[in-house]
């Protein structure tokens, strides 16, 4: 079923909307949640919470890119779940993702006013726009989808070492970019 038809089902308040969403994007949502929370039961709960949130959000929202809309929701829900679980258990692969990002900002004083909600996302968009498509895809796969380096290498048919090197350079460029824009000083 086309995305627009699924969205129409939400607007009609048809319960088939959730079934069709699960059918088309359930695996993708579970995959993203799994990358963050690191266990199947939590990932499934995140997936189900995503359907509830989507049901509550549409209407009035009419997403432009339905898959991105859904995956943003599941990513946020999974991140909340990860933080909730963090004291008890750890997801080492995802911890690694956060540690890598820490390097972009670690040891820097933050100019709080510069990164009000949404401002930094706009800057990140600008930064991504400047990158080559391959670098951008690698960055988004790693820090948005939380894919492992191995999965990215496989997906893009390149070596893991190339992925690591490219991500390392991109993180350094991001650090410079953020410093230049006063986000970190």
């Amino acid at each position: 079923m086309e995305d627009s038809q699924i969205i129409d089902l939400y607007w009609q308040r048809s319960e088939n909307a959730i079934a069709e969403t699960a059918k088309k994007y359930g695996k993708l949502c579970r995959h993203i949640a799994m990358n963050i929370v690191g266990n199947f039961s939590d990932a499934e709960e995140c997936e189900n919470d995503t359907y509830v949130s989507t049901w509550n959000a549409i209407p009035p929202t009419r997403p432009n890119v339905f898959s991105a809309f859904l995956t943003k929701i599941v990513r946020n829900i999974a991140l909340n779940r990860y933080e909730y679980n963090k004291a008890q258990k750890r997801n080492h692969e995802f911890d690694l993702v956060l540690e890598e990002l820490e390097c972009c900002v670690a040891g820097k004083d933050t100019v709080e006013s510069a990164y009000e909600e949404g401002v930094l996302a706009t800057l990140l968009d600008e930064f991504l726009e400047q990158q080559s498509k391959e670098k951008r895809v690698m960055f988004v796969r790693r820090y948005w989808y939380s894919d492992s380096v191995k999965d990215i290498a496989k997906r893009l048919q390149i070596s893991e070492s190339k992925v690591k090197t490219t991500l390392f350079r991109t993180r350094n460029e991001l650090q410079d970019f953020l410093a230049k824009h006063g986000v970190i000083v």
Binding site: T71, V105, A106, A121, L124, L128, K133, Y145
Partner: protein, 293 residues
């Protein structure tokens, strides 16, 4: 600001980048393919162009089974300097190649011009007992040109695989789901056994994308080289893609309870494959990986 804060902020990036990262995996692969084998691709496109230009007048010339194989192998030979990805069948939806065009190109006369249905899958009893569906024939150059290795048959056979997971499990294929062997291990072992004896063999392998779509591949060993044809048409997130690879060697890198199937043009001693792969992974195409029993 912490890494966690930054991760949350990255969550707010434009949806177009999120969609791009998900949807462009195949096109990036194709770009790599084209960079690596531009000359071959250009040659192939000229051939394809000539074929479609003349298809109305001289379809017979292009549908001869040995002709199809010969064309295929000519491309393979030309790109021996690169020795990796040799050929690109189709896949750019904007380029306009559809399923019927592929089958027409490789000489399928059984399908109507407007048909878009894949042929029904049929198990081949002879297939499970031998290395290939029937004994291959060889040309003077040693390249298989018989019915079993007719390229169009392989295309048709891959297309005939069902889409549903349960139905896939009933096929002859070696099925690996995210590293776990689901069925067909004996077929894979038989293939490896044939290969080790230098006997031409063919096996189909099914893997799955993160989203659960099947990627069906056929690997054909003709006694000299390995032809790997990958059908991405079931991948709902990709384009209708076909990729073809040719390598001289197939290796099994077995360690830590897992086996990695590697393809390469590089000659490596069997007992040094792990070392060679660790040293220069870029020399190998990592195709399938599975957990051993």
């Amino acid at each position: 600001m912490t890494g966690n804060d930054l991760f949350r902020e990255i969550g707010g990036i434009s949806e177009k980048y999120i969609a791009e990262a998900e949807a462009t995996k195949r096109s990036i692969i194709h770009n790599t393919v084209f960079r690596r084998s531009l000359a071959t691709a250009a040659c192939l496109m000229v051939c394809v162009g000539l074929y479609f230009t003349t298809r109305t007048g001289s379809k017979e010339a292009a549908t001869d089974s040995t002709g199809a194989a010969g064309h295929h192998n000519n491309n393979i030979k030309e790109d021996s300097s690169d020795n990796t990805v040799m050929n690109y069948v189709t896949g750019d939806t904007s380029g306009g190649f559809e399923l019927d065009d592929i089958l027409d190109f490789f000489g399928d006369n059984d399908r109507s011009e407007n048909s878009t249905e894949a042929p029904a899958y049929e198990a081949d009893s002879a297939y499970s007992e031998n290395c290939s569906p029937s004994e291959p024939e060889y040309s003077e150059e040693g390249v298989a040109v018989g019915e079993a290795f007719d390229y169009s048959n392989l295309v048709k056979r891959l297309l005939s695989y069902p889409n549903e997971y349960e139905a896939l499990l009933q096929t002859d294929a070696f099925i690996v789901e995210h590293g776990i062997v689901r069925s067909g291990m004996e077929r894979w072992d038989a293939f490896i056994d044939c290969v080790e004896r230098g006997v031409p063999a063919l096996v189909e392998v099914v893997q799955f994308t993160d989203e659960g779509d099947a990627i069906v591949a056929g690997i054909l060993y003709n006694g000299k080289e390995y032809y790997l044809l990958m059908d991405y048409s079931r991948d709902a997130w990709g384009n209708t893609d076909w990729l073809e690879y040719v390598y001289n060697n197939l290796y099994l890198d077995t360690r830590d309870g897992r086996t990695k199937v590697l393809l390469s043009v590089k000659n490596v001693e069997k007992d040094k494959i792990s070392e060679a792969f660790d040293k220069s992974p870029e020399d190998f195409f990592e195709w399938v990986e599975y957990v051993n029993d």
